[in-house]
């Protein structure tokens, strides 16, 4: 394999509920959900919005559908190019 001279891209672009979001490499999906405001990931049994709380895979409040897989803990999921994220709120 030939070594590429071009530096790796510093950002990744994903879609959150159809909206294009560009974030620095290394951003988690939970953090990207808050790129334009307070992060919201799901609705509770009463239909009220909820967002991440612990940031470390304990509270399960940050779950959303990522690339078709439901209930992904977004605080543990790194953003990847072309990722599709769907929240239920």
């Amino acid at each position: 394999m030939s070594a590429s001279k071009s530096t790796p891209p510093e950002v990744v672009t994903l879609r959150v509920n159809g909206r294009v979001v560009t974030v620095p490499v290394g951003t988690t999906v939970a953090a990207a959900l808050g790129a334009e405001g307070v992060p919201v990931s799901r609705v509770d049994l009463g239909g009220r919005p909820r967002g991440p709380v612990c940031g470390m895979g304990v509270c399960f409040e940050c779950r959303a559908t990522v690339d078709g897989v439901p209930d992904v803990l977004t605080c543990l999921a790194p953003c990847r190019e072309g990722q599709e994220v769907v929240t239920d709120a």
Partner: protein, 423 residues
């Protein structure tokens, strides 16, 4: 898939990294599992990429060169027999056979319910800090932090560095207890320097002891926070609220393996071996002591499993970090007022939407589970468990597998692959 190793380490924070590096350097085959995508644990989150913190860089480099194997995104979900772990990795399952194990699963924050704590924008103190380290933009955002101990300062410093306007730091400890703690830090020079450096960077933030959150208010997200500050009520408008009270060890895996737990920590002997032979515990599992304790205990266990002598210097370092851990536990103990903030309608279990009033008449955790579904949702009591222990003194039951929500396939032993059968 199947894996085999001399030593399996669960958790790649400073404790797990130190133990794994030393054991692998001594020639053991070492496998490290962590549910995060990179090594570093909580305190060194993102350091594997950013490489800003010198101590983190040193240990991460040493780990990378040690020959230990690392499996990211690996969640241990069951332990069907001694020497065997079932691990879920994305959509794959792995069965891991091991000779010895080091549990290094760290700690989580203690969340106590108050009206409005389920609004988006209300997080743990370190939870908010972690999200910011992971890329949440907070430039120009107004933030209130309420909690206890040194982590409150650490979170405030991170937030300020990322451009947030930290409006107020509410320290729950009474003034006398807080300053008593600060003075004791003279005996722990490393901690003192850390604390002084943090405090120097934070001179512009109004801070109060004897202060805590009464309620978070807003429609679809937090807009305001009501605080009790030395007996007076104050209201602040904000974009984010971080509110949590100290840390509690992540004991699920230790309990799953049958280790004895007492006073909220894993019981170990002087070689940090649990009551289960061949299974050791390090770091926050031994009681909250921070990164120094994690490194010292990780090094100690690394020597023990490698069959190398433990130096008297290391023994001394361990005694010193234990004293600090005891000091911290006294300082961070939540005050009584924090147990009485929830109203009858305030949700206690966030997964199953169980309000405080639904727990009326329940005498213990078992009844709360049976009659009110407390702790029966996705997080399996990880959040409300510590809350009801503080609120009502209900302590946890035994952990049943899977210790995390898992696919049925992950609970079966994978069939041997053709080449392993042939060999």
């Amino acid at each position: 898939m199947r894996e085999a190793c001399d030593l399996v380490v669960i958790g790649a924070g400073p404790g797990g990294l130190a133990a794994a590096s030393i054991a692998a350097e001594a020639g053991l085959s070492v496998l490290v599992l962590d549910q995060q995508s990179q090594p570093g644990g909580q305190v060194w989150r993102g350091e594997a990429r950013k490489r800003e913190n010198r101590l983190a860089r040193r240990w991460l480099d040493r780990f990378a060169a040690s020959g230990a194997r690392f499996r990211p995104g690996a969640r241990v979900v069951a332990a069907p027999e001694p020497g065997l772990l079932l691990v879920e990795e994305g959509s794959a399952s792995v069965a891991v056979r091991y000779g010895r194990a080091v549990l290094a699963t760290g700690a989580r924050e203690r969340f106590l319910p108050f009206p409005g704590w389920t609004l988006p924008g209300v997080l743990g103190v370190s939870g908010l800090q972690v999200l910011v380290k992971d890329g949440l933009p907070v430039r120009g955002k107004r933030v209130v932090l309420a909690g206890t101990g040194p982590l409150l300062l650490a979170a405030a410093a991170t937030l300020q560095r990322h451009g947030a306007e930290v409006l107020f730091l509410a320290e729950q400890a009474p003034a006398a207890r807080h300053w008593g703690f600060a003075l004791q830090l003279w005996r722990h020079p490393g901690k003192l320097l850390q604390g002084a450096a943090l405090a120097a960077g934070l001179v512009s933030v109004p801070t109060s002891t004897d202060a805590w959150v009464l309620a978070a208010e807003g429609e679809a997200r937090v807009e305001r926070v009501r605080l009790s500050v030395r007996g007076h009520e104050e209201t602040l408008s904000c974009d984010y609220l971080g509110a949590s009270y100290g840390l509690v060890p992540n004991l699920e895996l230790a309990k799953l393996l049958g280790c004895e737990v007492a006073s909220g920590a894993v019981v170990v002997d002087e070689r940090l071996e649990t009551r289960v032979k061949g299974v050791h515990a390090v770091g926050e599992l031994l009681g909250i002591g921070g990164v120094d304790q994690a490194l010292v205990t990780g090094e100690l266990v690394g020597h023990v499993v490698a069959g190398k002598p433990v130096s008297s210097e290391l023994e001394r370092a361990w005694r010193a970090v234990r004293t600090f851990a005891e000091l911290l536990a006294r300082h961070d103990a939540p005050r009584d007022e924090l147990r009485r903030l929830a109203t009858p309608q305030t949700l206690v279990c966030r997964c199953e939407d169980v309000p405080l009033q639904a727990l009326e008449g329940c005498r213990d955790l078992r009844e709360a589970r049976l009659y009110a579904r407390l702790g029966m949702g996705a997080c399996q009591g990880r959040t409300c468990g510590a809350a009801v222990e503080t609120l009502f003194g209900w302590s946890g039951e035994d952990v049943r597998p899977p210790c995390l929500p898992a696919r049925i396939g992950s609970l079966r032993l994978p069939s041997p692959s053709p080449h392993t059968r042939a060999s």
